[in-house]
């Protein structure tokens, strides 16, 4: 099986300020189709910088990025834009929805851009908004939504074009526990259907859905391994009431 996504000694150094900031320092990562990878690490450890490069939203300083067997770090901005429509879904840490479009249109647009028929795009939108408990907000403008609602719309939008890779940066930051539950269910459903997911998160509930955890520290991978599934079935071992 060839990886969906691969990086070779990927480096990001921000040099727009007085001193250059090395944010990502030689990351080698390989993600197989259908894998769910959680990325964790302290603030400033380079998580956003890394996923932004993977999604072509920021340029790399050096190293390589491969997507579906094709080298992409050398692509022009317009070539990236095309590729993103078809292959990548992105949920930003600070969600950016199109302000003057309704929620429904925000979610349908990526599917249409990726070449889905209007009917397919509408059906996909209806099912995603339904799963995230947002059907009633379909005609609202993003500005009329709460932070948590906007975040769920951003997730629905990122999944609308059934991307090869879903890249998400803290997609549950603004959610209360009930909304987190909807998001968790949707993520675990699309993961079961084979969706590849790479997700930055501080939320242990979200991270625990992943197959694999990558820990970043000072721009480097310091841990990369499976998250064990124990399935003990008995509550007593998990919840110690003391």
């Amino acid at each position: 099986m060839s990886p969906v996504l691969k990086t070779v000694h990927l480096v990001k150094i921000y040099s727009d300020g007085a001193v250059p900031v090395p944010a990502v320092r030689g990351v080698d990562l390989q993600v197989e189709p259908g894998e769910f990878v959680a990325i964790m690490g302290p603030s400033g450890s380079g998580k956003s910088s890394l996923v932004h490069m993977l999604g072509g939203l920021d340029t790399r300083t050096s190293g390589e990025i491969w997507l579906d067997g094709r080298r992409v770090d050398t692509l022009s901005e317009s070539a990236w834009a095309l590729l993103r429509r078809k292959k990548i879904g992105f949920v930003f840490q600070f969600f950016n929805l199109v302000a003057n479009m309704t929620v429904a249109d925000n979610v349908e647009l990526p599917a249409l851009l990726a070449g889905a028929s209007p009917k397919e795009a509408r059906e996909r939108r209806e099912s995603l908004l339904g799963a995230l408990n947002l059907t009633e907000r379909a005609d609202a403008a993003p500005g009329q939504l709460s932070g948590g609602e906007q975040q769920r719309v951003a997730l629905a939008r990122a999944l609308a074009n059934q991307p090869s890779v879903l890249l998400a940066d803290e997609p549950t930051g603004n959610l209360d526990s009930r909304n987190t539950r909807d998001v968790l269910r949707l993520l675990s459903d699309v993961h079961k259907q084979g969706q590849t997911i790479i997700m930055v998160t501080h939320d242990a509930r979200v991270a625990s859905l992943a197959d694999r955890l990558v820990s970043l520290f000072d721009g480097e991978i310091v841990d990369d391994g499976r998250i064990a599934r124990r399935r003990t079935g008995t509550a007593g071992e998990v919840i110690d009431l003391r």
Partner: protein
Amino acid sequence: MRLHLLALLAKEPAHGYELKQALEQTFGSAYPSPNIGQIYVTLGRLEKDGLVRAVDVEQSNRPNKKVYYLTTKGREVLMTWVDEPTEGPRVRDEFFMKLVLAPLTGIADRMALINRQRRHYLSLMGDLNDLLSRTEPGDNVAVLLIEGAMLHLQADLDWLERCQEDLT
């Protein structure tokens, strides 16, 4: 468990097995199913301390069963428990001790310990997620118990990150 049993007996007198069932019904799937032997041992001690009183009830063609009542002294102890503020969780974390002490001996490095512990916590969180999805959403007590455990685990993970920032 002493006070939990006193609280149940304050509602109505009961025998040991009924108390086990009451605990299971109240806390649902989230409660580690109480051991019946442990319940009888605890009841015995409560009786010795004068907090409950046992009365033998005759049963046709079965051995007598003991029904337990709360005594006045038992009720006072229960009231004190309910009235006073409850201790918060104390940080007496086994992992933290290991993290601080183990590197001194040269047998482990902190980064490796933290990384392994993080994955272990996530695996526990996965179990809690499973448990929550198997719990009836209407079963408030069980759901809240699981959510409480999840929040504690999240705090442990955040703390682990702080340890990583300052100790490695």
